[in-house]
Amino acid sequence: MLNYLLNRLGQSLILLLLVSIIGFAVLNLAPGGPLSQFALTPGMTREAMDRIAHQMGLDRPLPIQYLDWIWRLLQGDWGKSYRDQQPVLQIISGHLFATLLLMGTSMVISILLGTWIGIRGATKRYSLFDYTTSVAAMVALSIPTFWFGMIAIYVFALRLKWLPAGSMYTIGNESFSDYAIHLVMPSLVLALVDIAVWSRYMRSATLEVINQDFIRTARAKGLSEGKVLMKHVVRNALIPMITLAGLQLPTILGGALVTETVFTWPGMGRLFLDSLGYHDYPVVMGLLMFSAILVLAGSLIADLFVAIADPRVRLG
């Protein structure tokens, strides 16, 4: 067991190193740089750009810049943003809260609603409910989030004036209810597509289970239909869903770029895009490493759980 763990840890570290090298190289080899945004500034001269690049250490050879960066990282220094000079970890954690709030809420909504719709659709197959939700799911999957978000803003913020048009909270009023009311539109818009996805998965998973022999056995021994459904069908159908939910967790970090843009939500998606746009390498690298670590840690933990739970999986 210990050997297996060490082995996996070693593999993960090598993988992280590769990710960092490739990420660093791709970022720095792409044309432009952190200073290119100043090129058209009136009075900006090449001389001044070169001087600033030198002061920022951007004119050093790439391998040296990389080694400098990774050496600091190993000492726990994630560097500072080129844009606003804030420590990278502080920037990431600042945006992480906004993203977790939005994505978490929307994920809870979409999983709960999606599984319910899926189960109901599967048990009442070819009913009006099943047809309606199936068509609705197809429509939801085909609507671009951007467009849907704008329509929602038009209807609920501009016309009806029920909900705020965007932002995470009213500046100066950071109460729970204020967050909640700001959360309604973006989380529902974001959840819409996920509800469709979840309901489709859940429907087919339920259908698969519902036709199996042990369900017939359960019915034969006289269990009520409700008990059969809850104790046997749903429980078994949920297993692949849990794996799926687990796999989706790291994607939370990527944020929801489109929704964040439409609703001016200060999340990770915007941070990543803005940092890329300004060639803010320390932040982009920070985000890259951060998510790589989480993905690797996640899969390591998942593998361990599987190994513990299932004696057929051999370690070593």
Binding site: A48, I171, T264
Partner: protein, 555 residues
Amino acid sequence: MSDEQHTILTRPTRRQALGLMALGGSGIMFSGLPGISQALAASGKTISGQLTVGFSQEPTVFNPHMPHIEVDDGVHFALYDSLFSVDPEGKFVPGLASQVPTVENGGISADGLQWKIKLRDGVKWHDGKPFTAEDVKATLELLVDANFRSWRKTGHDLVRDLTVVSPTEITWRMEKPFAPYPSILASTFITPKHLLSATADPNNAPFNNAPIGTGPFKWVERVAGDHILLAGNPDYYGDGPYIDKLIYKYVPDLNVMYTQFKTGDIDVVGLQWITPDHYDEAKALEGKVVNVVPGSTVESFTFNMERPQFKDPAVREALYAAIDKQSIIDALYYGLPAPTESYMPQQSFYFNPNLPKHAYDMAKAKALLDQAGWKPGADGILAKDGTRLAFTCSTTAGNHIREQVQQYIQQSFKELGVEMTISNLPPAVMWGDYWMLSKFDTVIVGLDFLTGSDPDTSDYFRSTSSGAKGGSGQNNWQYANPEVDALLTKGGEIFVPEERKAVYLKIQDIMRKDLPFLPLFQYATVRGHKQGIDNVLANVNVRIDTWNVATWRRA
């Protein structure tokens, strides 16, 4: 405010009227408008309420001396003051200096070498410490400090013998006369010595993210990726502020920003403004003031003068005649921008209204090329002495309107027997070495040629300012004309605006004749704010809307 809310065609706004009157040659400086500060000085000052400005880029640099973009200026104007600033008419008005130095009042010696600045007394930094001449000295020294990541040293590097005469007076000597320096000083914010210059590493001083100024608003907080919150400074020495909570909200998408303007979440639509396609709808919005504002940026079709095709002046003139400017403006830019013949904004004191007017004339274009000896080759493309009249045209890939302009021009040129190939590049490539080292044939670009209100364009037109020839500057046309060089030198040494003017009128004449770039139009943007907010005024001499945010108030 009622004079600020109509279209350019029906009833011109004040700025447009200025332009039109200047065009008429009827004089440029107007005294009919009282200064904003005087108009409001009589009224009492109450600081209350909240105001939200939307920006489509995020302000991130709060140390005004470090490399930054326009949107950062938007916050600097609220936090800091310069010695003096520039108003919409291009006149300097006192800020931290109690009087704008001129040759007339003895602030600047006649040869432009000796400077003496009297400072306002009793001004305090936001942390309560007194502002003195030591702060001005420290700021000017920091700007040229070799270890400091200063974004601009131009002008400051000529300052010698900085002497603090008293807490309210400072003098210095210039290494050589440099007439643009007042304009540079007008956009140089003064920063506190005790928090910035006196720290061990000004590049990483805590000040950079917790700025302290003397300006009308104090720093409260920044939520990265979302907003910046400032509070009205009750101790401000000047007119204003009248707003208690000033919020700069980052709204990355222009459609979203416009929607939030409509819903009322945003009071003032700032940088990148309302997109032209929304103009018709926006001006009909109830409770909103929407107007078209000329900017200082001039769009041009730019040549690489070192390419053999473009050495012949007849070619440049013929291509100019073959561009249907007005149709481009009307069809692709919603008729908003004003056609121009000069690189100088039409609102500038130095604008030359008497340049020959461009006319779209294909027959003239054909005749010009024919007379100059350009004859069609076997492939139908004009050629002369083995040089084919074929070239590429580049601009930022993804700028759809410009791409359509290119296709439109391409058609016209084709009729002439000129082959223009469109070759667009992503922004980072386009405006990198490709632009700075003149690796293009032709480019469509919008440039702001001026430093603030100053007419000096040495960085652009001087023959030694070309990166491809080892110079430092943005003369990416590789334009070289000894007469212009001499005029630029002369203009840089005259400190009396009325005398300088003749020099720059002449330079505009020459540029119009030489045509290293074909001037297309001067940018105009659609701006909007909620009705009942006073003093939201455009100023062509600064880069950002909030230049006078101190005086913004709710009626």
